[in-house]
Symmetry: C2
Subunit: 189 residues, 2 copies
Amino acid sequence: MNQLTENIARIVRLEDHELKALNSVITSREVDKKEFLLRPGQVCKATIFVVKGCLRSYYLKDGEYQILEFAVDNWWIGDLKSFLRQTPSELFVDALEPTQVLRIKYSKLELLYEEIPKLERFFRILMENALVAHQERIMHTHTLSARQRYEMFTAKYPNFYHSIPQKDIANYLGITPEYLSTIRNPNSH
Amino acid sequence: MNQLTENIARIVRLEDHELKALNSVITSREVDKKEFLLRPGQVCKATIFVVKGCLRSYYLKDGEYQILEFAVDNWWIGDLKSFLRQTPSELFVDALEPTQVLRIKYSKLELLYEEIPKLERFFRILMENALVAHQERIMHTHTLSARQRYEMFTAKYPNFYHSIPQKDIANYLGITPEYLSTIRNPNSH
DNA sequence: GGAAGAAATTAAGATACCTTAAGAAATCAA
DNA sequence: TTGATTTCTTAAGGTATCTTAATTTCTTCC
């Protein structure tokens, strides 16, 4: 068992032979800080699970970068659209710190779904939960001020937010680093 | 076959007996304009599929309503979080026009997943696609101006946007109806 | 078909957040 | 450790979008 299969086993019960089949398609990798796992134009061939560390995904629009999401311990990342359709990605994925990841290739996962129907269930539930989180994020951007969104962020990632550069947090929240700085200044309250 | 099973059959091939089992848990219903299918506090007991018409989901924050999404022909709606966890909802779901819907109860769907593994695949894929759409919506709110988001909206719902009140489109886009009005004014270009 | 209500428009003043810029602090590389 | 680079802070002026409010247009419903 590794951290990924443990995560799966928390949702669906896998038989020994299923665990074995699953483990045979998981590859491990250490990612250096600032190293890229995906760049625009490449097809996202594998889905990435973070064992320990922090990755981010972002894209370029009019020369500016925009972060889509962070992935910390026990979460998944990649370019979902590119992965699902095996089409060229529009996202960068890189590491904010030295990070250990596990990966499953698209081609292997497709076969595995046939072999292990419970894996299909796991990913259905994973996608459902991710969708709920995205809906909540959309609600927060519509209903909360920049300051409130920052407070939500620090509450959601209490162990991580100090190791993510402030300008990246600001970018993720959709504000400028200068404005985040004024928000954080206690005199601004 | 109905419009829902046709939609499913486009993604996964169902045997006759599976179709039959599926159809036995689908209930049909006409919804009047302004009629509610869900209110905060209620548990979202069924997932809703729109055959024809238009529903919306929204919530109240500080006395203001905020639309989360619209569902038009061939799309699904509800309070996903409430549905998945069978906990009290925070959302309203109501009809913007007379709408025909099909519904599947949570309790029935849970059983059906055991009986028809292909249904699990269908919903995995449905959730994946919805997640991609939500990611794109988040990217657009961060990268596009209000005017560009409005143009995306009319391009995405060419057959529907004129039947949705402008104030609701504005609300969905996260702007005021007054501002949408000035954006739409050709003199503002 | 007309009255009452709701939605859309227009405009003026207000505000949250942005841009630019410069200095201070932290991090990185050698 | 030190110099170079990146990040963070502070502040002043600017812009997209909001608020309020008044007017017009569109719906609803009896």
